[in-house]
């Protein structure tokens, strides 16, 4: 192989190797861990249940199956108010029989992305 071509193909190869590593860097989303703490639910559920519910949510709503997406949906939220509004406005979801606010379901989903069973 001629050197230019090698360098060209090598560059492509390097890019091919480095792109996943760059994606790895994007995966490390930085956010306030409280976003993933469904405070009220933790009074009645253990960690396992929160993860289970969160995992179910992500299956039910595949568009929100990524940590980054969930963080964006939950950032800058007054959770107490938002959860109450969810129930008032019919923004609820049933997961494993539980009638939940969308916001708290997303919190569980976010928690489950970083705390797999």
């Amino acid at each position: 192989m001629k050197r230019r071509k090698f360098l060209f193909y090598g560059t492509i190869g390097m890019a091919a190797l480095s792109i996943p590593m760059s994606c790895q860097n994007f995966k490390d989303v930085v956010y306030d861990p409280n976003l993933a703490q469904a405070e009220s639910l933790s009074m009645i559920w253990d960690t396992e249940t929160i993860i289970e519910i969160g995992t179910h949510y992500r299956k039910l709503v595949p568009d929100e199956n990524r940590e980054r997406t969930l963080v964006k949906l939950l950032e800058e939220t007054d959770f107490g108010e938002r959860i109450k509004e969810d129930f008032e406005n019919g923004q609820t979801i049933m997961i494993d029989g539980w009638i939940l606010s969308i916001t708290e379901a997303r919190q569980c989903a976010l928690f489950s992305t970083v705390n797999h069973q």
């Binding site: 009645i44 129930f87 049933m94 029989g97 539980w98 009638i99």
Partner: protein, 518 residues
């Protein structure tokens, strides 16, 4: 005055002005209403004053369709009737229960809640209840610490019950009224008098007499100017269907309505309520701790209309106990009602004992909802008579209990509505049981689908004889002097237990007959 009919001569003839057939809640309350009138009242009771298994056996019959309790043990045949097993729970029907709802086929009563209100007040007295007031506001002034959940009452409200001291644990209405009936000069009670046939005149427009029998082989003929059937929804239908020598389809059954539209209250464990923090209230105390009042969460009329659902309420019991409690449809399967009661109560005690060690932490703030909901009127849910005869030669009653998709969808939505309002209030979360989680499944029912032993609808009211057995006054269509008292007359089942309403309706009927006979 009391006579044990077993002591009478065969083919005795008894005459009176009015004959009340059945001495349960309806029959006794009507009889009481006639004390000190100038009329002679004959009150017939199939059993005696104590349980008699030979008489009780007359109630045996087959059940098909949705699993049900044995017919022999789901009612009591003795003076006082099924109040001998009664939980005493009393609450009036809601106004919506009386109106025609376009999403509930065959709904609508020919009378309104307002028509019944004066009689509800009288029924309250007869059942030894407190003031005729079923609002939470009133009872909060009477009893401390009845704190309701902070819910939007325009969506989910707190419906109140009063518990009658004439409940089964006190011996039922027999305890309170036996002496009054026996001492009344114009009331003649005949025990061991099972009515097996009703005889009309040649044109089948008037009842001339009824034929009663007992296990001695003797017959008694009872003549009166007016006859009131008060033997319960299943037995009333059975008697009309079996009285078929002059009317081949049975008396009052020219249009094939007698026995149809059998309704129960579905009473099913439907969801769990988990509170985030302890909620201080005596409003939802366990049943036996506060035997005067009871409260359940109810769905407002506006929300029922918006969602096109049936009327139902949800009562709470501690989850730690509920998890160990088998459904009543399982524990009440002995044909002997005494054994069924024993099984039920023993099982409850066992469940409570098992729960003691588990009632800590989050579960100590958790409850199970039991939803009691009306069943949609369904003509295929019905009482019929079969070829098998009982000891007195009367065809036995059979029950085919059938439910509809509206029943299941309604139960699910009642619990979802409650779940959303609980969530909105911030006090906790609700989890629906598995059988309600698939919103596409409105057909299958869990093993623990209970009825409440509330038998309704088999001789329903309608001004149209094609749609009802009795008219708005509970008079049988086409028969001048035959009436039906009791919950068999209900076109729809309402949300609460039927006894207060059936006594109110019976007192209304009593007034009607008094006006006619005067």
């Amino acid at each position: 005055m009391h006579t044990d009919s077993r002591t009478l001569s065969d083919n005795s003839i008894i005459e009176g002005d009015i004959c009340i057939i059945g001495a349960g809640a309806a029959g006794i309350c009507i009889a009481l209403d006639w004390i000190n009138t100038p009329f002679k009242v004959i009150l017939l009771e199939s059993g005696g004053f104590e349980y008699d298994d030979e008489v009780q056996d007359l109630y045996k019959g087959k059940t098909t369709g949705q699993k049900y309790f044995p017919l022999k043990s789901s009612r009591l045949s003795l003076f006082g009737g099924t109040t001998g097993h009664w939980a005493g729970m009393c609450s009036p029907f809601d106004p919506i229960d009386f109106i025609e709802r376009d999403w509930v086929p065959n709904s609508g009563w020919p009378i309104s809640r307002k028509d019944l209100d004066p009689f509800y007040a009288r029924a309250n007295d007869k059942l030894k209840l407190g003031p005729y007031n079923y609002t939470l506001d009133f009872w909060q002034k009477e009893v401390p610490n009845l704190n309701p959940f902070p819910l939007d009452e325009s969506i989910v409200w707190h419906k109140m019950w009063q518990i009658s001291p004439a409940w089964g644990f006190n011996g039922g209405l027999s305890t309170f009224y036996k002496e009054d009936i026996l001492k009344a000069k114009n009331i003649s009670l005949y025990t061991y008098s099972t009515v097996v046939d009703i005889k009309a005149n040649e044109n089948v427009t008037n009842i001339e007499h009824v034929l009663a029998k007992n296990h001695t082989g003797k017959s008694i003929n009872i003549k009166a100017k007016h006859f009131i059937l008060a033997t319960g929804a299943i037995q009333n239908a059975r008697l009309l269907l079996a009285s078929n020598k002059q009317a081949p389809k049975g008396l009052g059954n020219d249009n094939d309505v007698v026995g149809r539209y059998f309704m129960e209250h579905l009473e099913i464990q439907t969801s769990e309520l988990w509170l985030f923090k302890p909620f201080l209230t005596d409003l939802f105390n366990p049943f036996f701790e506060n035997p005067k009042l009871w409260c359940e969460l109810a769905i407002s009329e506006k929300v029922q209309i918006e969602n096109r659902i049936l009327n139902g309420t949800a009562g709470l019991s501690p989850l730690s106990t509920a998890r160990h409690t088998k459904p009543r449809i399982e524990t009440w399967q002995n044909e002997d009602p005494r054994k069924s009661v024993d099984n039920l109560l023993r099982h409850w005690d066992e469940a409570a004992t098992l729960a003691e060690s588990e009632n800590h932490g989050a579960i100590s703030r958790a409850f199970e909802f039991q939803t009691r909901i009306e069943q949609a009127p369904n003509p295929d849910s019905r009482v019929t008579i079969g070829p098998e005869l009982d000891e007195l030669g009367m065809p036995r009653a059979n029950l085919h209990w059938a439910l509809t998709e509206l029943d299941k969808r309604s139960i699910r939505e009642v619990n979802q509505i409650i779940g959303k309002q609980i969530g909105r209030s911030g006090i906790g979360r609700v989890k629906l049981k598995e059988f309600l989680q698939d919103e596409k499944d409105n057909i299958s029912w869990p093993e623990g689908t209970n009825g409440g032993w509330h038998h309704m609808g088999t001789t329903r009211m309608s001004n149209d004889p094609n749609k009802g057995v009795v008219d708005a006054n509970c008079q049988v269509h086409g028969l001048n002097n035959l009436y039906v008292a009791g919950s068999g007359c209900y076109p729809t089942a309402g949300a609460p237990n039927p006894t207060l309403t059936l006594v109110a309706l019976s007192l209304r009927l009593s007034d009607f007959v008094k006006n006619r006979i005067s």
